[in-house]
């Protein structure tokens, strides 16, 4: 049986857009064993890097699926890639195929470019084979829901993932069709409309929660209050 390994980059837990993407893709890979690893758990639950590296041996593909954190890969995700690269056994990973799905709130491709380039450098450093990937914005709108239930909002994301699943099933590089499909995502939503709509949502949520969303707690000479152990 073919085996595909997902490495998920969201450090937020299991009800995330990243998990929704992985769930959707996994459901479209019938007959393929999918193993899922979460980057933040690999370190939190003891050092699981060796076990993760072992899971990659003999796999057909590694899927890197991650949100963007401050214009780059989230720290736990990057650390797992670095640990793999530093591993004395990394030679055994040479030739493994890799695909990427990078998502963020921002719509512009440039906002995800650093992540794509870093994943490609990781492949080059470790001898893995980059087989393509795509990215998309507005992913906070998924809000941890199943992609199937997001209606028209994520329809082009679903179709691009469908195409990715087809490519995986047929051992192909990610096709240009997937990239073309994802470029239709939010293509018709002008940013001048999206920005005030999102501002209205923030203002409404802040009012409901009774908080000042523009607060400046770390301004010098203003006391920092309210930190918790949450």
């Amino acid at each position: 049986m073919k085996r595909v390994v997902f490495l998920l980059g969201s450090p937020r837990g299991v009800k995330t857009g990243t998990e929704s993407i992985a769930n959707y893709l996994e459901a479209r890979l019938p007959g393929i064993e999918v193993q899922r690893w979460r980057a933040h758990q690999i370190f939190r639950d003891g050092d699981q890097v060796a076990a993760f590296g072992e899971s990659l041996r003999g796999a057909q593909l590694l899927v890197l699926c991650t949100p963007v954190y401050v214009h780059s890969l989230p720290w736990p995700f990057q650390e797992v890639l670095a640990a793999l690269d530093d591993s004395p056994n990394r030679g055994g990973l040479s030739g493994l195929n890799v695909m990427t799905v990078i998502h963020s709130g921002y719509l512009e491709d440039i906002q995800r470019q650093t992540c794509f380039e870093m994943c490609q450098h990781f492949c080059r450093e470790t001898g893995m084979v980059y087989r393509g990937g795509f990215g998309f914005g507005a992913s906070p709108l998924i809000d941890g829901r199943p992609l199937e239930s997001t209606g028209r909002l994520m329809r082009w994301v679903r179709r691009a993932l469908d195409e990715m699943a087809t490519c995986i099933a047929h051992d192909r590089e990610l096709s240009g069709k997937a990239t073309a499909l994802i470029h239709r995502h939010f293509a018709l939503m002008p940013r001048w409309l999206m920005i005030p709509l999102m501002k209205l949502k923030v203002e409404r949520d802040a009012k409901k929660a009774g908080v000042d969303y523009r607060a400046r707690p770390y301004a010098i000479d203003e006391p920092v209050t309210g930190t918790t152990d949450a």
Partner: protein, 190 residues
Amino acid sequence: MATLVLFGLGADDPLSSTVAEELKSQLPESLDAAWFDLPAMSIGYCNGCGYCGDTNPGICCKRDQMQEIYPHLARAARIVLVSLVRFGGFGGHLKKAIDRFSPQGLGTYVLHNGEMHHEMRYPGPASVISIGIMRREDEAEEKTFHLAGSRIAACVFAERSASTVLAPGMAGEEVRSRIENSFREAGASR
């Protein structure tokens, strides 16, 4: 000029002391510099809990040494980022701190230089300077590092930015020249 230095090199990292010395020569006391040696600090990673955006806007809930950095980040007119380069991006110590920049942004978006960005909670710095140390020379990763530096600068709405990449074995004079040029390019030279 309030300057924040996030120094992500440990004592054993290549060029660590050379870069530190050169930076200090660029930052006389009159420039009001706050210097943080990140590898020696206890800083947790951002787990995207949303506390700083929804529950208590602008405040990070993690009680660790990042709390010492936040007030300086809020007022910095110049930010200097120093790090090893990993896969073309910032190395782990600096990246962990950068991920914790989230409280700096509001939940709202604006167009900035033609791109969507979170609005800033505080005025952005005048300049961001990124200095990367590579394990070995690599043109492709160097290009990515310049991109990573420019993206961070865009993220905090810096008016100007500059980045440079150094490699082990580089002569002290070359290190000095590259750092000086970065400060000059960012409009931040002495």
